[in-house]
Symmetry: C2
Subunit: 357 residues, 2 copies
Amino acid sequence: MNTVFWSPGLEQLEPYTPGEQPSGTTLIKLNTNENPYPASPRALALLAQKDFADALRRYPDPESCELRAAIATRYGLNDRQVFVGNGSDEVLALSFYSFFRRNEPLLFPDITYSFYPVYCQLFDIESRSIPLSEDFSLNVEDFSGTAAGIIIPNPNAPTGRHLSLDRIEALLQLQPERVVIIDEAYIDFGGESATQLIEQYPNLLVIHTLSKSYALAGLRLGFAMGQEHLIEGLLRAKNSFNSYPIDAIAQEVATAAIRDRAWHENNCSKVVATRSRTEEALLELGFEVIPSKANFILAKPPAPGAEALYLALRELGILVRYFNKPRISEYLRISIGTDQEMDQLIGNCKEILASQS
Amino acid sequence: MNTVFWSPGLEQLEPYTPGEQPSGTTLIKLNTNENPYPASPRALALLAQKDFADALRRYPDPESCELRAAIATRYGLNDRQVFVGNGSDEVLALSFYSFFRRNEPLLFPDITYSFYPVYCQLFDIESRSIPLSEDFSLNVEDFSGTAAGIIIPNPNAPTGRHLSLDRIEALLQLQPERVVIIDEAYIDFGGESATQLIEQYPNLLVIHTLSKSYALAGLRLGFAMGQEHLIEGLLRAKNSFNSYPIDAIAQEVATAAIRDRAWHENNCSKVVATRSRTEEALLELGFEVIPSKANFILAKPPAPGAEALYLALRELGILVRYFNKPRISEYLRISIGTDQEMDQLIGNCKEILASQS
């Protein structure tokens, strides 16, 4: 590859690798934490009902006012405490740019969302990864010391472990002079959101996505919530990068989805119930299961082990996520599908494990 | 504003200011170069016809393969010579990051798209603005000298002036060791695209948008075309910023729009015809008109002058763009609307000018 025209350093970037998105539809996809059910029918109905010709001809609202108002209402905030972006990945990228470009390392757990170190490379941010305990639990005190920004997913990914609100408060108090980002992509499946701490903590930024609990991964919509001075910082960066990141259709569909609280609560309950059943079934098969508050389970299968099981399941048309990485290479991350999909998974695991013994 | 949590330098960023997007619909909007006609009916029909529930539930194709193939076919390129982004603004931002972060100034005209200096601030890139001639024409030789990247819009914005293909070639030859970006947002309204030079020039990157000639500003879709080694550089940056920038609906609508060449050619012809009529009418009213190959006209009104006329038109419900900036503060940039909208504009200008004399 001819890289002479590239900016210095570009060649050294190691991009994030998303989970596989096969184009065929016959596979059971339990590898990217998508929701198994279709999104709010009120949100989906807009597409068929509305004439978007004029909305598409014009530039969209650069500030996504209506969508931000819906989110603010949902979380008891005001509109100026809400920032929206093209997926929570974009919100995260702009947050790293806005708050973490400092002459000091950013702190995050050693097992966490693997996009964080990529943003650090992108914006030349030093980082220090803080080891989780043997059982993947996070010890808040490990994040103390000299002033440093912090980012953690809660529940953590890919472990699924949840940190209680008093532990989040402890983190916020340990680093009062720096931004602490709580990435709550998976919070709606039984976790306790830190949004209720926003009033008290000027250094708290909470990030959500519509990709998981709203079943809208295909729409690309994420948002950040925090005190106004943090949201202003994000806007400064966003408006220097892309004035109109949210298209006209996405603004409307997302607004309707956020407003349909009944659908959302029902959907999360269904996923949580299926997760419980799946945890029990995996334990019965001899897996070690990390307790999860997310829409996935990290679990360590018995022999023939994670990689062999991943490949065998793949042969049978079931995709789960295998990370060939330190500490978690003996685990599989399994997204929660429908009850039927999970029955199929459990049945196939049973057969594969039985054929080994 | 409390900025203690911001990264150093964030406060100094001066974001781009987009043209006003009023929420009322009774105004005649000739201020943001939107297309006056609805997009391809084939593209729009998809929204009503297709069931997007499953596409939205899942992550979209991170590589937008089908859309890139449609663009490649349209321009006689291969798929790996095409990069797509969330509006051409995102494509531009990633291009600045990928190619222009060097210890040397980037060159662009002193009158040009005002987002360029903002990207430079965002990524800490030095720049040098090259003065256009008195009549806003660009002298290619002014871009020679030590190695330096170049970016120019062609046609230029907000002047509307077009540079012929042999002048573009001269630019490419003047800076063979650096990327030269030709930002062709307005090329389809009578200009000659540099895409046909891609095979010959490894340093050429051409950027297009669906916001103007495709009447899809609300969809946020832009793309870059160039030799594979440049596209690879862009992918490296994009995949370190946001894996899935193009949502599932936008991918499909954009693909259908690109494929509907008959609609596109017809639409551009209509806009060009209205532009000619408008130029003539403005000349008749005593405006100085810069010859335009874009879907807007930069013109200098007679007394009471640009700012007064802008305000008076606004009172009458017509928005045009007034830039309070050196060299162009006596001009108005007027987007090409429908014939009826332009008749209204001309009629109102006539009255306002008459009431002055």
